[in-house]
Amino acid sequence: MTDTEIGRIRSDFPMLSETVNGNPLVYLDSGATSQKPLAVLDAERDYYFHENSAVHRGAHTLAALATETFENARASVARFVNAADDEIVWTANATEAINLVAYAMLNASIDGSALGLKAGDEIVVTEMEHHANLIPWQQLAARTGALLRFVPVDDAGLLRLDDLDSIITPRTRVLAFTHVSNVLGVINPVDLLVARARAVGALVVLDACQSAPHLALDVKALDVDFAAFSGHKMLGPTGIGVLYGRNELLNALPPFLTGGSMITTVTMEKAEFLPAPQRFEAGTKQVSQAIALAAAVDYLSGIGMDRIAEHEARLGARLVEGLSTIPGVRILGPAVGEERVGLASFDLHGVHSHDVGQFLDDRGIAVRVGHHCAQPLHRRLGITSSTRASAYLYTTEDEVDQFLSGVRDTSAFFGVTSTGVTA
C-alpha cells in the first residue's frame, strides 16, 4: 500500500487524529483492540436510527427489516472466512466462542453423546496459547477426567514439532491452538497440525483472533473444525465475536446456553432445539454489533486482506530489524528475517515492561505491556512480562520509527547495556 493510500485510510479513523499527552497518538496496540472506521460507527448508528427492532421475532415491517440486515451481516462474515452462513455463530467475543465449544462438549460428556469426552481421552493445546484458549480446555479436562497435554515451545517461543506424533495420538479428541500468536507474531503451521489431528481423528479448534483481522482467513482451506475470532480486533465494535463450526459438528453438539430463539417446540417438561446457528444463539443477540462487524469486514475486503497482510508483514520486519539494534532488547518469537505478522514483543533487559510502556506513553505511543494473557509462555521464556507493539492497516512506517526511537531512548533513560541495567 502506498503512503497516499494509508493516509486516506487513516482519515477514515477519527481516533487516529487524537493527541495523547500533548503528542499525536501513535497507536501500536491494535493486537489488543483495533480502532474503528467511520463506516463501522455509521453502520451501528444507522441501524439504531432506521431499523432498530427485535430480530427473529415479530412480524411487523421493521422486525422483518432488522432480521434481514442481521442475517445479511452473518452472510458477510461467512463470506469473509469462506464459511457457509449457517456455520457462523454470533458470540460476545472469541473467549465466549471457545467456551461455547468447550461447554457444549462438556454437556455432550454429561449426556454421553458422540462428541463428549471421558477419562482416558486427551485434549492438546500449545504452550503459547492465550489464556482464552487454555483455561476452557483445562476446565473441560478437569470435569471430564480427560488429560490436557501441550505442544511445547523452544527458547524463542516457537512450537517444537519434533515430538508431535507422541503428543497428538489416537487418544487425542481435541487439538486447540492459535493461528497467529498474540505475543510472538508467528504464524503457526496449521497444515502440519491439522494433518496430524486428522490422522488420529481429533477435532481442531483454531484461535483465529490474531489472524482473521490481519490475513486472508479461509476456514475451508485450513480444514479446521472450529475457529474463533473477536470483532473488536478487526475494526468492529466490542461485544461481538464469531464461532465458525463445521455444520454437521455444530448440529451434533448439544446447546450451551438455552432459552428463547433457539427452540422449535417447548413443553413444560422439555424442549427441542433449532439447527445451528440458532441452537447456539439463545436470547437477543448483539444485533447492532453484528451489523457493524459486517461493515468492518466489508471495509477490510474493500482494501484486500492480502494487501493488508503484506503491509503489516513489512511493518513487522521493520519493527524487529529496528528493535534488534537496541541495547538490551530481546525479541520474542521469530528472529529478524523470519516470517512474522505486524507485531513484535520484546524484553528490555532489567527494565519492567510497565516502565517501558510508561516512557512510550509520555510521547503518545500506545503499546501493550504485561503478560498479554499468556503467562505460561512468558514463564517458559524466563520472563514475567513483555512490551508489545502491534500494527494494523492504518499504521505507518513513521509510527514504527517513532516507536523504535522511543524504545532506544527508554533503554538509555534506564541505563540499559547489552547485559543489564547499569548501577
Partner: protein, 150 residues
C-alpha cells in the same frame, strides 16, 4: 525528550531504590507475612513484618518480589521507612496517609516528615494506572498487620 511529569515519576531516588532495594530478602522468623500480586502485570511482593515479642513495635520489614521500577522502589522505600521501628498504630496511619496521597490524582503531596523518602513517589498519583504498582507493598503490609499474632 521526556515530560517533567515523567522525570518526576522516575526520580533518581526511585530508580536507585529499584536497582538497590532496601530490606530485600526474606527471613525465617517474621511475625507475619503477606503475598500480593497485581494480576494485570504479574508484579509480586512477599512482605514480612518483624515485631518485637510482647510489644506492638514493628522493628523491621523484609521483602522479596519482582516487577516494575515503581513497585520495587516502593517496597524498598517502605522498608526504609520502618527501618528504625514503628508501632503498629503509627504504621497503620502512615499506610493510610500514603494511600490517600496515591489516590489524590496529584492533588495531595505526600508528607515527607511522615513518609520519609517514600514521599518521592508522589508523582505516581498522576498516573492512575500506576497507583496499584506503588501500593502493592503497602497493601501487603496492611494485610500482614492483620495477621500479626495478638
Amino acid at each position: 525528550m521526556s515530560s517533567s511529569e515523567l522525570q518526576s515519576l522516575y526520580q533518581e531516588l526511585i530508580l536507585d531504590h529499584s536497582k538497590h532495594p532496601q530490606g530485600f530478602g526474606l527471613a525465617d522468623d517474621a511475625a507475619a507475612e503477606s503475598h500480593q500480586v497485581n494480576p494485570t502485570c504479574g508484579d509480586e511482593v512477599t512482605l514480612q513484618l518483624h515485631v518485637a515479642p510482647g510489644t506492638d513495635l514493628v522493628s523491621k520489614v523484609t521483602w522479596e518480589g519482582h516487577g516494575c521500577a515503581i513497585s520495587q522502589a516502593s517496597a524498598s522505600l517502605f522498608s526504609e521507612l520502618v527501618a528504625d521501628g514503628m508501632t503498629i498504630p503509627v504504621l497503620h496511619e502512615r499506610i493510610d496517609l500514603f494511600r490517600t496521597a496515591m489516590r489524590s490524582r496529584g492533588t495531595i503531596e505526600p508528607d515527607e516528615e511522615l513518609l520519609g523518602d517514600a514521599a518521592a513517589l508522589g508523582g505516581v498519583s498522576k498516573y492512575i494506572a500506576r497507583v496499584k504498582c506503588a501500593m502493592l507493598a503497602w497493601v501487603a503490609a496492611e494485610d500482614a498487620l492483620a495477621r500479626v499474632p495478638a
